[in-house]
Amino acid sequence: MVFFRKWQHRPYTHVAAFHSRPLFATSRSGIVTMALRLINHALRRQLAAQLPRNAQVGSVASVHTLDKIGKREVVGYGWNGTASYADRVDYPLPPIRFREPNNEINALRVKEQGDWKKLSPQEIKALYRASFCQTIAEVQAGTGEWKMHLGIGLLFTSAAIWIAILMNLFVYDELPVTFDEEHQKAQLKRMLDLEVNPITGLSSKWDYENNKWKN
């Protein structure tokens, strides 16, 4: 788009009269095109100024990533060359340290250059946490979030059971009289008299000779 504009707005001083375009516009559309040309120039100058003057060849991180990590030291390649921190079990050594250096950490680093036996466990832990966010054990331990999900699910289940009980107690009408024992027996007798499903179903299980259920 930039190149297209550049080509279009070249002054046509070498072309014949009726094709030539004046350098300074007088008409309204002319003013617009000239304004666009100026904006175009300004934009390109701004973009050129933003480019890093001495971009490192083969650097691990682009300008934008390095802006995001602050003062943290880049220490390795990581998984794809991006300078970002993540605790990954498949790439245990991240490309940057976790914390930015401060006075305590720098003092510990000086001590680290000497004999490691002189470091106390707390100092070793402090050095570890300066470089890493979570230990591998912590990464693999999980959050226990499943307990929240299970608890909420059970809460809803119990609410549903309560609603069922209360509906049955207070909302539903009484069952019709035809649901009692006597009526059910009469209905069953009627089904057997009608020989319902006599081949494989109900009546096939009834012994008509002896008036009882088959074994």
Binding site: V75, G76, Y77, G78, W79, V89, D90, Y91, P92, L93, P95, R109, E112, Q113, D115, W116, K117, K118, L119, P121, I124, K125, L127, Y128, A130, S131, F132, C133, Q134, T135, I136, A137, E138, Q140, A141, T143, E145
Partner: protein, 148 residues
């Protein structure tokens, strides 16, 4: 590559490594086979290089921990000494954690064996084991980004 030396351990680990033949051919890239000893030597040499810096140590360690093997005690020791040379004890501990994690399902048998082999180096360098430091169990909890 882990080499089975003790007979008892070989029995216990029959499931993972069956005999020398399977262990022998470790790398088959580019058509050339590399034996387990050559592989071990190569990475020992890599970590033992005099002027190695933290970048290359981490690259080597990440590569090793991405392969389908448990680094042999010699390689673990070379990695620890390399970390000592760049004065980074956090790196040494993380390397140990990574190697422990690579034992996978067989951690109960493999990890004590590894520890036994490297404990002279650990004592010499002054690196605590993960258990001594208390990092075999989670120490701190990380708040979820959704709860911040």
């Amino acid at each position: 590559m882990l080499r089975i030396t003790a007979g008892k351990l070989a029995n216990a680990l029959r499931g993972t490594v069956s005999g020398t033949s399977r262990v022998a051919a470790v790398r088959c890239l580019h058509g050339t086979e590399e034996s387990a000893e050559e592989f071990d030597k190569r990475y020992e040499k890599y970590f033992s290089r005099e002027g190695i810096d933290g970048w290359e140590i981490r690259k080597g360690m990440n590569d090793l921990l991405g392969m389908d093997l448990v680094p042999s005690p010699k390689i673990i020791e070379a990695g620890l000494r390399a970390a000592r040379r760049v004065n980074d004890i956090a790196l040494a501990i993380r390397w140990l954690e990574g190697c422990k994690d690579k034992c996978g399902d067989h951690q109960a048998t493999l990890y004590p064996f590894l520890l036994e082999k490297i404990s002279p180096t650990l004592k010499e360098l002054g690196v605590p084991t993960i258990e001594e430091l208390g990092y075999d169990k989670p120490e701190l909890a990380l708040k979820s980004v959704y709860d911040l």
